[in-house]
């Protein structure tokens, strides 16, 4: 071999190798997003952002490496896939990288068994779902809270009719906010309806006719649902009902409830995105964890 030719040949080999590596890299990078169904539907401008997120963030369970490496495994851990889907959903909403990281931390705090669970005095008359369901959810809400008006009925519908039917027992705890006019009257009415065995229908009425609310109309609404007006009105004036409302609020304050709605899942305060889609996603993750731990 001509000594003069060997350096140029070596150079050509090196360039070829580099080209092959660089050509393979995008394919490998693209694989991590392709492993997640929701991420495949993102546009090309968001794909690059998702890749950057996957290469820098770590899942809190299921794998010790970055999302990109965890998703490249065959098969990827179910928790990793679920978290990656959630990240893609948030990227589509336009969240920044730092917001995604904070959100992931809050989800970990909502799911992992860290710290002492909250304690509740749960009232069976304000529960929905089957007794003995694997997960217990508690929601503190105000009768006159615009967020609760949207969130609570939607969550109730998902848990009663959706894919989580039969897996979650949801308890309602009244937490009247002083800044909301007539929140005390609304809270008392909810407790009175619960005593008469018509808690969820009355709560639905309260939230669906939110704009028409007036304390004087409450007995009419109760009567419209088939409840005894005189009994309902008597309960509204009952001092023990007010004591029960105060006790529920004090319990919420003990559990560090600062705003409504506040959700607890199996005693852990839910700190992640307060949308029904995200709550359902986290509940499904909790169910998968329970199944995994229960498996021999």
């Amino acid at each position: 071999m001509n000594p003069r030719q060997s350096p140029s040949r070596s150079l050509r080999v090196a360039v070829l190798c580099c080209t092959l590596v660089l050509a393979a890299a995008p394919a490998t990078r693209a694989q991590s997003a392709a492993a997640v169904p929701l991420c495949r539907s993102l546009g090309s401008d968001l794909e690059a952002k998702v890749q950057g997120v996957f290469e820098s963030l770590h899942p809190y369970d299921g794998c010790d490496e970055t999302f990109a490496k965890c998703l490249a495994r065959k098969p990827p851990h179910p928790v990793v896939l679920r978290l990656a889907e959630a990240l893609c959903r948030q990227v589509k909403e336009g969240r920044s990288r730092s917001e995604l990281e904070r959100s992931l931390t809050r989800r970990a705090q909502s799911v992992l068994p860290l710290g002492k669970p909250a304690t509740f005095s749960l009232d069976e008359s304000m529960a929905t779902g089957i007794a003995g369901a694997p997960i217990t959810a508690v929601v503190y809400a105000c009768a006159r809270c615009p967020f609760c008006k949207v969130f609570v009925p939607e969550l109730h519908r998902e848990l009663v009719e959706g894919p989580l039917k039969g897996t979650v027992r949801l308890f309602f705890r009244p937490f009247p906010l002083k800044d909301h006019a007539s929140s005390t009257e609304g809270g008392l009415a909810i407790l009175a309806a619960a005593r008469l065995g018509a808690f969820w229908p009355f709560l639905s009425k309260l939230y669906s006719d939110y704009d028409a609310f007036c304390p004087k109309l409450l007995p009419d609404w109760a009567a419209g649902l088939g409840l005894e007006r005189a009994v309902f009105e008597r309960y509204l004036g009952d001092p023990t009902l007010r004591d029960a409302l105060v006790a529920a609020k004090q319990e919420g304050l003990r559990n560090k409830v600062e705003a409504t709605p506040t959700l607890f899942l199996d005693g852990r305060k839910y700190l992640y995105d307060l949308t029904v889609v995200s709550v359902v996603d986290v509940l499904q993750e909790l169910l998968e964890r329970q199944t995994e731990h229960a498996a021999p």
Binding site: G94, C145, F147, L177, K178, E258
Partner: protein, 176 residues
């Protein structure tokens, strides 16, 4: 002076024309729109022209709460009128014992502090407000302090442990 005199004289009723200003306004609007879209396109975090996902306009509704100082004792330094001491317990508990000079503002978990009470506190002239409660969990003193601070009363603190924590200052046999 000549220019100013024009203003002193009554000006004849002038006939306003609208075509030109309206056309010019439309031109200005169009130019602003082009400039705005250009700047938005060049911005690092520019808004998409059409929003695909609904805006989350609602957030969890908070209870009014402000920053308060956590105190471990009743340290009444300075002139007596500089610190206002409030007892957040019920009327009955207040009458059985209270810190001398403390005013009773019973805390209600359901009803907000009355506006008249807030006005009195704000006009009291005190530089500091110290609140003590029943020392329970939740502590009514802590929550009254936070509510007052959230509604604009400045320099509010609460005593951790409430009235029971202050028993060390009481003569033997006197209960709070």
């Amino acid at each position: 002076m000549r220019e100013m005199s024009i203003f002193f004289r009554r000006s004849p009723a002038r006939r306003l024309t609208w075509h030109a200003p309206v056309l010019e306004a439309l031109v200005v609007t169009a130019l602003c729109a082009v400039l705005a879209l250009l700047v938005n396109a060049l911005r690092a975090e520019g808004l998409p022209l059409v929003q695909e996902t609904e805006y989350q306009i609602l957030v969890p509704c908070p209870e009014t709460s402000g920053e308060v100082e956590t105190l471990t004792g009743l340290n009444l330094t300075g002139a007596p009128t500089e610190t206002l001491v409030l007892d957040a317990r019920s009327r009955g508990a207040y009458e059985s014992w209270h810190v001398p000079g403390a005013r009773n503002v019973p805390y209600d978990y359901l009803e907000a502090v009355a506006s008249a009470t807030l006005r009195k506190l704000a006009s009291s002239g005190a530089k500091r407000v110290v609140v003590y409660g029943d020392g329970e969990n939740p502590d009514c003193g802590e929550h009254l302090a936070k509510e007052l601070a959230g509604k604009g009363i400045r320099n509010v603190g609460f005593i951790v442990g409430g009235a029971p924590a202050l028993t060390g200052d009481l003569p033997a046999g006197v209960r709070p």
